[in-house]
Chain length 344, copies 2
């Protein structure tokens, strides 16, 4: 009854679920970064013409999800389920972004791991036979996140070197059953890991243990090593978190070499863009995957990728009450098209 | 490939997913209500010995989920996935409530519809072959919710007659494959419905259209009528929302008679308990299902039930910015044991 489970935390999909399209819409800052040319749309005005940062984020979601569906050659009506989430209180960016689509909706909260969570559940709903197409994604907005989690931007607070820069934008994919597209083959679902970190300006350290837990379980469950992947990319650990992951994995006997990176490192040029530890936010891994990695999986330049969006599970209230910042991560294994890809 | 879909918004599970156990833990107020004797545990001190309302809610979750697993005759280690959510910013009640369990976790945000969302996804993960057991639930806390969504309790604000009373507690179930237990047979997933309601003290009206949408789609997709169910129970519409649903369904040609109720009406005695429109919050439908309806499904007193937790998708920020309060609802069809039940 349970042949799809291949270990304690991993499932293998029957025939793989195809990623039919990927769309990324970002703000000016991301457009100026090293991945700028890969994004579908760069919005110069980060209010997107709206009267609040919260509504601006909804606007990013709405336009980008419409673009993902269009790129898949589908209509919104072809989507059976929509799964997404964001960082705002009660996920209102998602609510107001997608409500006009009128699609059955599962709201998610995985903090910045949401892209991994939405891809995992969206893929299982298709593979299990409950849907032909799902639309899944994640979003964040620098201004809305700073206002809510740290301090209003107008205060001009100095940011410590461990701080990350929340990515503004939305990354979304359409999942389906068939065709010569990159393929989700395995899903390694994360547990909440808490190492007692309490500094809301050092998320990389808070999330690194959760990424390590997913990496270890994924390798144990699949019997593979890091060298079986062309790319391993965590979500938004930045420089500090990445180096912690490398060290922690080394202690466990795994060597993570240059093929391991973090989307938060890739998306900004920390020297030129004043982004300190790197990019963060639900959109960090979402837009980096959709804009930068998806075309490489499509062309066959990447044969197999382990994508691990990472999330810090805090609220301003929990931080003010002195609680720690637990982390979570969700691993998705994706095989590319062409010779290097296994499944096509 | 998609035989499980039986209409636009409904899927039918292969062999049904069994609800192996249900646990409910509530505070003194719910214990004094008409359903008091049905709950597993009544906690006299609603702080549950914790130093904040937020941590108190986590305590309700932790103890009640442990109880659900124990009642199923399982150990926490037997659970493949945990899915739950709550109303607090960034769902921290769930994070701190479940993090010590060390189970792969999908965090959800469906506002007060969360019990329907968690049962839907938790059931599909089993039915699709990805899990043997899932633990799913939802929680809320009156004091934490009032502080966050309306005003600090210490202000002593007067509550308008349309206001609801957020239920304090946690309701959780363990889902599995086999045995003579109540059975989830169909899932009708809701869309976000927005009728432009902006009064955060009139959630019943905000959520009623979402419940109606799920009812209509469920009846159309399954070919049944309200009279094919022994009980139809929405989540937390209260008196006002229930009468709106009855009227709206009548216009669509469906008669909802005494078999249609709302968990927010059942859980409190509005005359004796000063709860105005009725109970609300994620825990309202969760504890009412787990405490009151589950034993009736188990005994065969209820043959078929349509359970529709309802949620209002607002945040204090979205309300303060003048946004409307969209609603969502998630329908789960459950068949009981014994002669009246169909599936056993």
């Amino acid at each position: 009854m349970n042949a799809k489970r291949i270990g304690k935390q991993t499932v293998r999909l029957n025939e793989g679920v195809r990623i039919l399209s990927a769309a990324s819409t970002v703000s000016k800052k991301e457009g100026e970064g090293p991945l700028g040319k890969y994004f579908d749309k760069i919005v110069e005005d980060s209010t997107f013409g709206e009267k609040s940062w919260e509504l601006a984020e909804s606007h990013f979601i709405q336009e980008n999800m419409q673009l993902a569906v269009k790129k898949a050659g589908l209509k919104m009506n072809d989507i059976d389920y929509l799964l997404c989430g964001d960082l705002l209180n009660q996920c209102t960016a998602s609510t107001f972004g997608i409500m006009n689509f009128q699609i059955p909706f599962f709201g998610l909260f995985g903090a910045c791991s949401t892209m991994g969570e939405s891809m995992s559940l969206g893929a299982m709903l298709i593979d299990g036979g409950y849907a032909n197409h799902t639309l899944v994604g994640a979003s964040s907005h620098f201004c809305g996140a700073e206002k809510q989690f740290r301090a209003p931007l107008a205060l001009g607070n100095q940011r410590p070197p461990t701080a990350s820069w929340t990515v503004t934008g939305d990354g979304s994919v359409v999942l389906g059953r068939k065709g010569n597209f990159p393929c989700i083959t395995e899903i390694t679902t994360g547990k909440i890991m808490d190492m007692g970190i309490t500094d809301a300006n050092n998320m990389g350290a808070a999330m690194a243990p959760a990424a390590v837990d997913v990496l270890l379980n994924h390798f144990q469950d699949t019997g593979r090593t890091p060298q079986d992947y062309d790319v391993i990319a965590t979500g938004d650990l930045g420089e500090i978190g990445r180096s912690l992951v490398v060290d922690l994995m080394k202690k466990e006997g795994y060597t993570l070499d240059g093929r391991y990176t973090d989307c938060g490192i890739e998306i900004f040029d920390k020297n030129k863009q004043d982004t300190h530890n790197g990019g963060s936010g639900c959109a960090c891994s979402a837009v980096t995957f959709c804009g930068y990695y998806y075309p490489k999986l499509m062309s066959g330049a990447i044969g197999r990728m382990l994508f691990i969006p990472t999330g810090a599970l805090l609220s301003p209230t929990s931080s003010q009450q002195g609680q720690s910042i637990p982390g979570i991560a969700h691993g998705v294994c994706i095989e590319g098209c062409g010779e290097k890809g296994v499944k096509q």
